[in-house]
Amino acid sequence: MTTGTQGWHADPALLSSYLAGDLDAVNGASVEQHVSRCASCRAAVGPLLEPQLLEQTWTGIRDAVERPALPFAVRLARRCGLSEPTAVLLASAASLRGAWLVGAFLSLSFATLAAYASGGTALAPFLLAAPLAPVLGVAAAYGPRQDPLEALIATAPYGRTRLILLRTVGVLVSVLPVTVLLGLAVPGPPWLSAAWLGPALALVPVLLALAGFVGPRTAAAIVSLVWAGVVLASTRALTPTWPVEAAQQGVYLGLAVAACAVIAIRAGTDRQPGLAL
């Protein structure tokens, strides 16, 4: 320790012991208190630290300040093992953010409530909303003609097709479990809670295949109108569960296969961006 006209200052040996954690609790706390108030001793601490350690600490602080927070759904996925770069890409999809997911959840809840209140005679709202929730989510996440970064995404090595498929999977993983849970509350035969998955999993590839030709908005409008037509037509002359019965599931499977084939064929010739998706 040294003293002078400016008062007491910690000497290098004491500071080194402090930095190494060799001081007892009382002396350590005393030195810490002093250093926090004494500019001279703070300046003396700097050279005693390893530059690498300082850089590492500063980088960590900057990362915490500058790196944007991930949406809740993506943070959850990170905890389940999603890789960090993939999380960064998914975080940019608007339909994986809180507002959109809450909107989808509310729409589905109202549709479920309507079906529940009718005692199973009015299944149309649920059968209409359940397959369209992922379809609209994918369309919102797709973004080729609306995405402000389209020109950069198209010329990046990651590839637009891959990005859109990643976002599609992200949307499906976010929306489907909630919809399945709500489906359990819908009165009717037990298979009904999962039967809507057939049209949902068919309409998503149909949307993607169509979007490659007409863009996601028009494709989403076409898919929504066609599906609404099927559901509404069934309420007039057929049973409420007709759109999701076994015979129709075969048609959905065929549609899904055809749509995937169209995407695959176009992806095979994707030397220019945006051809397949």
Binding site: T59, R62, D63, V65, E66, R67, P68, S83, E84, P85, V88, L89, S92, D147, P148, L149, E150, A151, L152, I153, A154, T155, A156, P157, Y158, G159, L163, D270, R271, Q272, P273
Partner: protein, 293 residues
């Protein structure tokens, strides 16, 4: 002009949008250094840059980038894109992203998967464009010039061998343009940099080579000094605007700067600028692009 060794080689390249011809039989190659593309709107500059940036394909002719044919296979186009930095003419910015978040997102698309080196690289490019202290600011709170610099920063990620910049100086003030020139000048020592601009002074200050495009064809390709030399003897300072001048305007001294046409009576020869030479090169199109200052 195909040499077989250039970074960018376009051979008899053509491109149409419906009935409109954007590029016609363009034969040109680019190597390390900064090349400026000049031309009026609709000349084909953006189309040429988009072809080089693998954003669109050519309708005809051969394109070779970094020794590869990007049309040959997915692997080839991806390999080119790994060494490409591209600033499009119009780039939308997600308003809810920060400058750091935006660049980091593009860095992931460019396969910077390791978080530590990626963060360092994002900070390096933000620093290179003078935005290190704006990293955590949302893009919608940045000025137009700052946004353009964010766009430029993403094009510098990974020190690409091929850098394509479509009007990078748009929206920048003179000081920012000077900074940009310094950045690009350093980049030109190790990379092939192609940039389009309407600012002839940027080309004069920055580019060792200039290409003048008009109606989808190359009107001039050579050193900036060679383009300027083509205007010697065609530029005058006169008391009256020339009767058959290509363009003329009244200068601050009260005399008229006359470009092209016959020498006006009593006119003194003037030292031509790159802009004079560019206007002469365009011929009748010059009146469409020239805005008297």
């Amino acid at each position: 002009m195909s040499t077989g060794t250039s970074t960018v080689e376009l051979t008899h390249v053509g491109k149409r949008y419906g009935r409109t011809r954007a590029l016609a039989d363009v034969d040109i190659a680019f190597d390390r250094g900064v090349t400026g593309l000049l031309g009026p709107n609709g000349a084909g500059k953006t189309t040429l840059l988009r072809i080089v940036a693998t954003s669109i394909g050519a309708d005809s002719g051969e394109v070779r980038l970094l020794g590869r044919d990007p049309h040959r296979s997915h692997a080839d186009v991806t390999a080119v894109r790994r060494e490409l930095g591209y600033l499009p003419q119009e780039l939308g910015y997600p308003s809810d992203m920060t400058a750091f978040g935006f660049i980091e997102y593009i860095a992931v698309l460019k396969e910077w998967n390791d978080r530590g080196p990626r963060s360092q690289e994002v900070r390096r490019v933000l620093d290179a464009v003078g935005l290190a202290d704006q990293a955590s600011v949302r893009i919608n709170r940045l000025s137009g010039g700052q946004r353009r610099r964010v766009g430029l920063a993403q094009a510098l990620l990974g020190e690409p061998r091929l850098v394509v910049l479509d009007e990078p100086t748009t929206g920048l003030d003179p000081a920012q343009r000077a900074d940009l020139r310094r950045t690009l000048s350093a980049l030109g020592h190790r990379s092939t940099v192609l940039l389009s601009t309407h600012q002839t002074e940027d080309v004069a200050a920055l580019c060792e080579r200039v290409v003048v495009l008009a109606d989808g064809t190359v009107r001039f390709d050579g050193a900036v000094t060679d383009l300027v030399a083509t205007a010697v003897g065609h530029v005058w300072l006169a008391d009256e605007p020339g009767d058959d001048a290509l363009v003329s305007w009244r200068t601050g001294t009260g005399r008229h700067h006359v470009v092209g046409g016959r020498r006006p009576v009593g006119a003194d020869p003037a030292e031509p600028t790159l802009e004079d030479a560019y206007l002469l090169m365009l011929g009748p199109d010059a009146q469409r692009v020239h805005t008297p200052s």
